[in-house]
């Protein structure tokens, strides 16, 4: 029996190690189940990464969670045309799903209805008006977008966020990215949101009906203001991705050979891009975990019950990064330690201990002198970087003042004061002695005689 439990635990551990940290259950909502065949490569890729995919169309009722238990770990909404949410689901329930730790991928299209706009607005993402498309007369694809210049070829080296390396590393893409769909904009003030891919500088967003009519006003969005793909990581580390195009996930775009006017044919980077994007969104990579926090006085090994002001101490934090189904050491040069009591008293960048073959975690350490201030302090590592899980580690420690016997007893500078106090005592004794036994004519007698 025990062996069976052990085996099943191991099997579960193996399955878990190969996939997303949230879980394998993925729900896909399509406008119509007939669309299933258009995404065969996507399903294959996801199933290779051990996902259990449930396909539904918008007409079937479904519940994301019941009795506070999520039925799914991931939600892919590939149904931009839906007029109403499926029975049992709403924008609110999807937000609740994210708040509960579920990951969501939303793909729009020019036919996108108000349901998904309502959802995206919850995340500070604003899609452009219905029936608008991103157009580009310079970067359109010769095969797919020849007629309307709506299938655009985006060069990842130029139009992908450098800060998004943790999300989609651009040097791993075999070629440019093909996109045909709607523009969206992200609220730049929202620090949880990051644009991963934006439109070429020459692109603009325009109504896709009556394209031959002359344009009589400026487009609402153009150039780099247009986000094509953006992501949000909520404060609970749940991840949400917004795409402007369902087509960029299809086999047709995965297998296309993008060719800009006057350029050679290239290999579409879409498949790799979507693979990396879904890996990120579904918590398969760039997930950080604090493995251990240690602190002790210099020259000691154990954490003391409390420190004393001005103690020299060492703080060490170990962080692991999850990717490719395993935990690896995390490397960075900008992890900072803060020593806080209401205000930060000390803020110091931690040094990474050099990694070797045996390293399983990235270890960051520093030695510092505690401030000349006693109280309850927090050792805080508050490491929030685009694309990486938010790391917030708080250790509360007490810093005591010197005890009365830890001060120097006699200070040479104060010797005149000690001498004075002693001389006052001696002076009193001498004075009293002379006053009492000095054979003085006492005032009493004088008074009485007088």
């Amino acid at each position: 029996m025990r062996a069976f439990i052990l085996l099943s635990t191991m099997a579960m551990a193996m399955v878990a190690s190969a996939t997303s940290l949230t879980g394998p259950r993925a729900l896909v909502i399509l406008d119509n189940l007939d669309d299933t065949d258009a995404y065969m490569n996507l399903w294959t890729d996801l199933q290779e990464r051990q996902y259990n995919i449930t396909l539904r169309d918008t007409s079937s009722p479904m519940e994301l969670s019941k009795y506070d238990q999520r039925h799914y770990d991931h939600l892919l909404i590939l149904s931009p045309k839906m007029k109403d949410y499926p029975k049992g689901m709403s924008a609110k329930s999807i937000v609740a799903f994210v708040a509960d730790g579920g990951n969501v991928l939303v793909a729009g299209s020019p036919e996108m209805g108000s349901t998904l706009r309502e959802l995206s607005r919850e995340f500070d993402v604003e899609y452009d008006n219905r029936y608008t498309t991103v157009l580009d007369h310079f970067n359109y694809d010769q095969n797919l977008g020849n007629k309307h210049h709506d299938a655009i070829v985006v060069n990842p080296a130029t139009y992908m966020s450098k800060a998004g390396e943790a999300i989609v590393p651009q040097d791993q893409l075999p070629g440019p990215i093909l996109f045909r769909g709607i523009a969206h904009s992200v609220n730049p003030a929202n620090s949880l949101l990051n644009s991963v891919l934006w439109a070429p500088s020459e692109a603009y967003s325009w109504e896709n009906v009556n394209l031959d009519d002359p344009a009589d006003q400026d487009p609402s969005l153009s150039g780099k203001d247009i986000s094509l793909v953006s992501v949000m990581q909520a404060r609970n580390n749940a991840r949400v991705a917004f795409l402007g195009s369902t087509e960029m996930l299809t086999d047709a775009f995965f297998e296309a050979s993008p060719k800009k006017h006057g350029d050679k044919e290239t290999i579409s980077g879409n498949r790799k891009f979507i693979e990396e994007l879904t890996k990120w969104t579904f918590q398969e990579k760039s997930v950080l975990d604090v493995v251990a926090v240690q602190h002790h006085k210099v020259g000691e090994e154990e954490a003391p019950a409390h420190y004393r002001i001005k103690d020299n101490m060492t703080y060490t934090i170990s962080i692991a990064e999850y990717h490719d189904g395993e935990w690896h050491p995390f490397s960075a040069d900008d992890v900072q330690l803060e020593l806080i009591m209401l205000d930060p008293y000390i803020r110091k960048t931690l040094d990474q201990v050099p990694l070797d073959d045996q390293s399983t975690v990235g270890t960051f350490t520093t030695t510092l002198q505690l401030p000349d201030q006693y109280g309850v302090f927090k050792f805080t590592v508050n490491y929030k970087r685009a694309g990486l899980t938010y790391v917030e580690s708080v250790t509360t420690v007490g810093i005591h003042p010197f005890r009365h016997d830890q001060y120097p007893r006699f200070i040479s500078q104060a010797k005149p004061y000690y001498t004075s106090a002693a001389s006052m005592g001696v002076g009193l004794l001498v004075f009293s002695f002379v006053y009492l036994w000095g054979g003085l004519e006492t005032s009493v007698k004088t008074t009485k005689k007088a």
């Binding site: 104060a414 004075s420 106090a421 009293s432 009492l436 000095g438 006492t442 005032s443």
Partner: protein, 112 residues
Amino acid sequence: MEDIKSASNHLVASYIKETPKSLKLIDSYMVYILLTGIIQFVYVTIAGTFPNNAFLAGFISTVASFILAANLRIQTNPKNASQFPTTSPERAFADFLACNVVLHFAVANFLG
């Protein structure tokens, strides 16, 4: 100028002649305390107030000793006897000693 000189001469002469010896002893004790206090005050202006507690203890011990001595002098002065009908000079001296004991406990406590 002459007046001042003669007045001060007269003052010194009458002090030596008319003041009881016990009061002269108290006066010399007070001068000694005053000088000790002045030396400390000069020292603190030169060396700074660190350690402040030791300075306060040392300086306050001189100030308080001076005040106690002054009180003793007032209470044992025969010319003030009418104002202290219930306080004999022996009683005044005992009060003086008791106050000094309390003072020096406090000073020693505050000194280091």
